[in-house]
Subunit: 362 residues, 4 copies
């Protein structure tokens, strides 16, 4: 896992006008750590179970606390539900995230769920005595264009491996972790990050975003809204139109209803990149707040920070969401490098200079 | 009410690449008629009850049948629920539109509801005998920047007036009907129309859209995704960030679940115009199919057309929705003319040439 | 409007074991006032516009403050959406009740909406200047079996009349107010009240319920779950299976997500009375908390009371909801008196002694 | 796995008056098969990983076709989302069930998901070539009161074992399969079945129900609505208030919206058994229709059976749902036998005679 201190955004790829945080990453929020593991093995023709393997896991740990004991306020929105993300029903009901977030290859959801449950159980062995359950949050995208999707290469033990990679330093995106085999807009996709700073009346908050980008048709690609895709060479090889996982984090003490509103703005950011929430795309959004962590024990009635429903403030936050989501998609495309996978399929990195030409010359 | 045969789209304002129907209007769908009435009276300082009045009603009749007896398959989606649209709970439960659609000024919802109920009752007087109810669909946006919002100028009897204006000919948009007092992106907004043709394997379908556009900050305006607003003169007078009603119609025989999916793509079209689904914006989407009209009487089990869930087809439809929604917003802006209203507030028409310059020179 | 100090529950009609508040009413919650007006006029054959009139309005004022300036945390759940209740979209989005609650006859929703808006506007005339809107909450049931549903007898000015009737003293239920023309389980229905006390670890909270009961088939009637209906004389005259509005109030400082959970338990109370959420029944539930009133002005970040998600406590509250909802339905049936209305239709009061016999004798 | 030809319902335990199908089971619907496997091993004190083991899997195969190639119309409703059921997002979006249904122990969801995916993949190996995914439907309840919840005893290969047990003959309920370690109302719970026949105008339809019952406090137990629990010996040992999975199947050609309405009636059946949808209870409902199976290939537009929205018919269906759900819970309680598990905890079978005494003598 490569660690960075910054990542440059080429001219024309900057979305909107809110300032970015230092790392342009979900890691700009205090306490959030990210880790990747990557499984790359074999070449040539697909033999299920043997490879080629182009896959991985990305883990987002939302706080430095024991997350199960100190769950974070959390909401979700499903923009298009053609996906297998596990854990959302309980998040909707109870309004909390009680495990780290795991992103991986679609058909590995079961094994990563198992590994995630075991990981949290090791930190909280008393759960066995009490007969209490754990609700792992496992998101996925389909990396079957490059990867041996049904080969079972990701094992539940890999969850322990990715947990050891957690870092608060900026970690590389693109084809790292769950992004290894992902394709977006006919180019190499994967993990992208971004952040936006919300200044309001002397308060400063941060909104961070991490995406697993595996969606979009090349001809529809828009950069900051501008339709560049129609001027790019056609690419119609991937019939399954992929998916995207959007993880939003903030230090604003939003409650569940407010986080739900945050989530519902994320699709607009996808729209600025050219998405139409394609039929086969699982477009899932999760948003959590790192403030107002809810301890499981304590008095029945307690005092908690709340955010007054001020339009001027919320509109800035909503703008931040739209900007951050689109920016994180570009980050994924910009960081990912050309990859060859199953059946010698080759997915090119985004032709940045060509796109800059289109943007300028148009 | 002015009738037209076509309306030209200036260069740069065309969204996407699907072909448009003949009228570029929701009226491209067979059987749909539209009517407007406009109430304009008085000038100068606001005196509640006296004016100035800048308001109206727009009516969309979804079929040439008695709609109550032959309701249309219909779904809705609320992208941001800061609004007063009446009738949605029953549409969600029963999946049908059983009255024409009425759009008006926010604080007139009660009176237009009453008028709409009376209108449908006159066509179906047997409802009194049977003690059966009617579910009027009344949408609204807040025209209080230009209009005497609380003056009670729209009366329930005006519903009969607007019904007499129904026409299958293309009717003018912009500041007509409910659009009279609306403001979008700091320019004069109101009613906009568009349509897209979906060709697939020898089948040809039409998707039409009518919006009541009353939303958006000027600095955020995007034309076909391109951020032109930052180069326009600032305009920060309207503190309430407005709303939009999106009405989608199609002759594709979609069922309720599929129409729901249609609705959920509409916000992406708004995103391409610069919306962030602002806090104070009631962003409501309604979609209905004019095929497979559901008669109230007949056999329990009957045969009905269905659309197979083919990604290639649905993606075209979703693209059509995104394009049509953005296009209808531009249509509203392009057709609306400068209007002066309460407290001598003046809202300019969109400076088309200035924007074309930005788009070209940018 | 008759005022009472208590109302006796006959043996067998008591639901569950949580204690009731002093008034067995939603008025057991501090600050809540209730008022009714009743319109009764004419006899004999229905002539639309002339009568017979058997209708009314019930108003629930949730606090002694200016509700618009100090809205209450509020959620809603639609168990069966065959109804016309107005105002729910905004409540879901913003999570607050900003007007009193009005219950009335279905086809009067438009006029009562208008009256409610005018009532709130009179208290808040600055809204015209600011161009800000109001979101009236108007619920309804169909009283068309006894009443001239389409006669337009309820006028918007009647809202001012019912507001003058508001009282913190226990007001009579049954055929008062909106309950005037309602029918439940083939007997005279209408307004019912109940309350439950939640004691937990030295904290004492109250949960109150008011229903407008207009639903249910006689043969399905259950008293505290016991199926007595099959032993009652058949009554199949009312083909439209009616509706119920359930209003839940509490002084527990629940947030929107928690109030949503409260709402979702209400249908189980209806089930104990014999409801199957009939197709034609608009079964709407609203729940608000009188603590943590949200002022529109003040600091962006503030401290607010929250309830920790303790199962033992919440289960008591959920039990209270189920008990209170069923109890309020019985209260409506027990208080309502025989009424004759349109076309000389006669709806009998509940035969309490006959039912007590069934309950005892089996 | 024991096979039966019928199962007697003791007097007083019969819910409602609609006739039951021949097997009183979800298997009364043509084509549905059910299988169980049970894992019982060890005694005495809990040692995580060693036992005692009291768990299993139940599999419901919705049709005799390749389910993935011929998915069934399906909807779901979450009455209380404290649960880990996987697969619901995609069912909501696409409206189809594309795999058999698997029920198991909570912390085995990951492994059963993996096994289910592998099972479906073996039947459809072309999915690897196409890079297409599978959406396994895995429901669960927490059997941690009797079982070594975190021991990992259920393996993904057990899915193949349970598939071999599928039978169209009536299979035993109670402590079989996923029901092995379940507790309901302080008695031994588990798998229960029921069915109801819907006759309407010469049409005959069947509605079947299978539950995994693991919920409820003993003192709240109601039999057909009658509160018998307060007269039973107290039992307060299980602090976690469990869950229930409700699977509804029918041969009525309902669409997604209509199946959704079916689902929303299920909680009322739970209410008749004494549930308040407890905080810690994952109460999930799934409903599918075995008619109008949707083939993945074929013409874009095709004809499909639909059910007209007739109140008289739908009310019978809704009544059937409420009856069938309560009946299936009693079936689980009546079939389950006393079981001793971890830490020598003993859960008694329902004291049927004692309850019949209460019902009669009460």
């Amino acid at each position: 896992m490569i660690k960075l201190t910054s990542f440059l955004i080429p001219p024309g790829f900057r979305v909107g006008d809110l300032p970015s945080g230092e790392k342009s990453s979900i890691q700009d929020i205090e306490g959030i750590t990210v880790g990747h593991i990557q499984l790359i093995k074999g070449e040539g023709k697909l033999k299920v179970g043997q490879g080629p393997v182009r896959t991985g896991i990305t883990m987002i740990n939302p706080s430095s606390e024991n997350v199960f004991q100190n769950p974070l306020t959390c909401s979700a929105f499903i923009a298009n539900g053609y996906g297998k993300t596990a854990g959302l029903a309980q998040i909707k009901e109870l309004g909390v995230l009680e495990t780290p977030i795991f992103l991986t290859s679609t058909m590995a959801v079961g094994r990563v769920w198992e590994g995630a449950a075991r990981f949290v159980f090791q930190q909280n062995p008393h759960l066995a005595v009490e007969g209490q359950t754990i609700n792992p949050l496992v998101g996925e995208c389909n990396d079957g264009y490059l990867n041996d999707l049904y080969g079972g290469h990701i094992q539940s033990r890999h969850v322990m491996d990715v947990a050891r990679e957690l870092s608060s330093d900026l970690v590389k995106g693109g084809s790292e972790g769950a992004g290894t085999g992902m394709v977006a807009f006919g180019y190499k996709g994967g993990i992208g990050n971004s952040s936006r700073i919300i200044d309001y009346n002397g308060c400063r908050f941060t909104l961070g975003c991490l995406v697993l980008a595996n969606f979009g048709e090349r001809k529809s690609l828009r950069i900051n809204g501008i339709p560049v895709g129609k001027d790019l060479p056609t690419w119609e090889k991937n019939k399954n139109d992929g998916s995207i996982m959007v993880i939003l984090a903030t230090d604003i003490p939003l409650d569940n209803r407010q986080l739900q509103r945050i989530c519902q703005r994320a699709p607009l950011g996808l729209g600025l990149t050219g998405s139409v929430l394609g039929h086969g795309s699982g477009d899932f959004v999760l948003a959590f707040s790192t403030t107002n962590i809810r301890s499981r024990t304590g008095e029945l009635i307690y005092m908690s920070k709340k955010v007054r429903e001020k339009g001027e403030f919320l509109n800035k936050v909503f703008q931040g969401v739209v900007e951050a989501v689109a920016q994180a998609v570009y980050d994924a495309l910009l960081q990912a490098e050309t990859m060859t996978g199953r059946d010698n399929r080759r997915v090119e990195a985004l032709p940045v200079e060509k796109i800059m030409e289109i943007l300028q010359g148009g």
